[in-house]
Symmetry: C2
Subunit: 471 residues, 2 copies
């Protein structure tokens, strides 16, 4: 194949079924559910550079620094497009389509989800080649996954005849909803494939279908892109225009209606890792079916999955249970009830529980901070600043801050002074002092911040100047 | 009754079956397993002052400050005797007996465990009166608990005829070991009682039985007491002498042999709260049998017990499970496997896991400290000092310390200075500086300590002077 595929990775979701690791502020696609890389990173790494162009990543603006940091870690490059509000997949596909048309109308585009995994990379790349070839001929092609069990958690594709005599690419006769158990069994028996939510198409073909079947989405996406503004390395879609796109999935908007749908049956070790039960299935097990990631012990139990980075997590005598421990929350889940976690998170959100949305550690473009202790009038944080990074120039109305440097060197601006603070030195920032923290060194700067005051909310911050445009 | 009973509370155990709350450094009897008071405190509070003298508490020297603090919280007074090494119950009973004989040979003594609970106080006090009356006549009397189910976790007592015609006090014909299920059912059918490990006796009677049946224990206890030294408010038994006492329980040493054993059948709402399953049974439940203490949520599950002071702990779809979350550890336990926790703790000890022995928070005579964060060359602690308390005058070879006062006022001795450090002020203690921390104020002093250095172990401390005699 001479022309490479332009991959577009949809990276804006906020999957709640793998809470407490996945949260609004650090959703599923950015978490190393399996192995050491996130599913987003694994998706990037599966895109062989001999077959694919550098990808376009479409994400929510809240995740912009997570996206760029994770792309950087893989050593890849990507264009990052940011959605200012959440819309469904049709709008994202429409934005990607417009970008591809700008490059060339016959660009072959592939849409991938950032939170699925594919374990057989060679088979995946082979299927991509087939799908791209059919896309070049005007089809909108999806990789249909050969079912390994009659799953009720996926949509299915009913396949038809080959698009050309002798081709392995089949007509996609219908995209059908998640079935009940009985219907699923029938689908599997009749050779239906799982709908994995990826699509290959020629940009001009999809643009035409979008215009035809969902013109409001297409128009909103095109305008949001035309009015987009560059922000650092990101392209931020115009909020007013993008908000006009109806919330609809690409399946509903186009795939269920188009005559051009085709499917490549694919056996590529795919999973949407949609629940902890799926993560357990994909993890390595010992002879008793137990799988421990991190600090865990299982005694007299089988088919147990423990995940805990820090706290010692123990299971005694309970079979078929999944236990996930994070800094501030514990989930004990029956393997058969994996999909109920969403219900739990909905309840937490209804109760305004912070644990539904945020982790104790918050990632920022300059590094991260983590709350480690707090009391009625104080809060203690660990702050880590990357080499060369600097926080905003800021002040607080209600809190004073003590900083003790425990690693590296800090360059602290305090009103009119600039002070180097070294390991084992401290500095005091009174209420109202205009200050800035920077790491001028070659290694991470770590410091302990002790805040004291009558109000310690994150929103007591006046940003006077910010290299990350957060003023 | 004219003469009051002298209660002796055995408070030296290190129960492991309710890990992770119970640990070597803070064992079961000091924990509020039910309600807001520990079982030790509940035991103290059940001793009506119209019937009982101020108690003698026999504990391990490691727990001396816990004992005095918890006694103080109840508003009671107690003499505290400290064992320098762990021996079994016969040695403790022998020490208590010698102390009682010193008061008067016919003192009526009652031995109680610090880690059991009694929910029917009126019935308990009535049974104590009966037992004391029989003890005054020369019997060694125990309260035998009427079984509520054929438990296999308790020893049983086979009862005989009344000690006097018409008395409700029965001869105790045999103390028998924990039975298997079948034997337990037979015991219950035949009217056996549970052995709850409490004893009422005249001091001279028990002294005689000890001399007769277990002379080595009696001699070691008497000598350990004769050579004991006062240490602050404590009486510390002589280590060399006390170590010579064989490790044997009072049941094996005396009760199984004496002709003087008697029993008062008692229906007093007793439990040894020996496992988490027992704690669950005694807790209040909702309509689904769920019982949540602290920060927990149960979704689609029944007969669940959650305990968590801080971390949000959730159970989804798993019935009959007990989940205990502490600062650094999580236990997920099948209700039917309560007694396996001991096995787990044995394994943790074999693996030299800190979590088997210590909590993140360590109680000291002056207050407590709690590790809140640590890294390769630093550690952050929250330190709370009670009003009027002072730490030892000390220095460290390997670490410097930064203290930031977040509540109250600190009086800091640093080499030749004495400095008042107020809320929102900080002070630096370089490596090697001789220093002392005291709270001269009327409210708790809270400070955040940031330690930096190449070695941060608790044993890098040279105590130069200590009001708590820990030099």
């Amino acid at each position: 194949m001479d022309v490479k595929i332009l991959p577009i990775i949809m990276c804006g979701g906020s999957g709640t079924r793998v809470w407490p690791e996945s949260r609004e502020s650090l959703p599923k696609q950015f978490i190393p559910l399996l192995g050491v890389r996130s599913t987003f990173q694994a998706t990037l790494e599966n895109l062989d550079e001999s077959l694919f162009e550098a990808p376009i990543v479409i994400s929510n603006q809240d995740y912009r620094f997570l996206v760029s940091e994770q792309v950087k870690e893989t050593g890849r490059t990507a264009r990052v497009v940011l959605e200012p509000v959440r819309r469904d997949s049709a709008a994202a596909v429409a934005v990607g389509t417009e970008l591809a048309v700008e490059i060339a109308p016959d660009t072959i585009v592939a849409i991938f989800a950032a939170d699925h995994i594919v374990r057989d990379r060679a088979a995946f790349l082979a299927a991509c080649r087939e799908a791209a070839a059919a896309a070049a001929q005007g089809y909108i092609v999806t990789l249909g996954i050969k079912p390994t069990q009659p799953a009720t958690g996926y949509g299915y594709i009913r396949t038809g005849a080959p698009v050309l005599a002798g081709s392995t690419v089949l007509k996609a006769e219908a995209f059908v909803e998640k079935p009940d158990a009985e219907t699923a069994a029938r689908y599997v028996a009749e050779g239906y494939l799982w709908n994995a939510g990826n699509f290959f198409f020629r940009a001009d073909v999809m643009q035409e279908e979008l215009r035809h079947f969902t013109p409001l989405v297409q128009a909103a996406a095109a305008e949001a892109l035309a009015k987009a503004r560059k922000d650092l390395d990101f392209l931020l879609l115009d909020k007013e225009a993008f908000s006009r796109a109806p919330k609809i999935s690409i399946d509903y908007a186009v795939m269920e209606h188009t005559e051009k749908a085709a499917v490549v049956p694919a056996d590529i070790g795919w999973s949407d890792v949609g629940t902890w039960a799926a993560v357990y299935e994909l993890s390595e097990h010992d002879a008793d079916g137990n799988s421990v990631r991190g600090n865990g012990i299982v005694l007299d139990a089988s088919n147990v999955h423990i995940r805990s980075d820090e706290h010692l997590t123990t299971v005694v005598g309970v079979d078929n249970v999944i236990v996930v421990t994070t800094q501030d929350a514990v989930l004990v889940l029956d393997r058969a009830h994996g999909d109920k976690v969403k219900q739990l998170v909905d309840r937490l959100k209804a109760e305004n529980r912070r644990e539904a949305l945020e982790h104790k550690r918050s990632y920022r473009p300059w590094g991260y901070y983590q709350s480690v202790d707090n009391g009625p009038r104080y809060q203690v944080k660990r702050i880590v600043v990357k080499p060369g990074a600097r926080l905003s120039l800021q002040k607080h109305f209600h809190r004073a801050e003590h900083w003790i440097v425990v690693r590296g060197t800090a360059e602290v601006t305090r009103n009119n002074e600039v002070i180097q603070v070294h390991e084992n030195e401290s500095i005091y920032l009174p209420i109202g002092a205009v200050h800035r923290l920077a790491n001028p060194g070659r290694i991470d700067l770590e410091l302990i911040e002790v805040q004291t005051g009558s109000y310690l909310g994150e929103d007591d911050i006046v940003r006077i100047e910010d290299v990350y445009n957060r003023v």
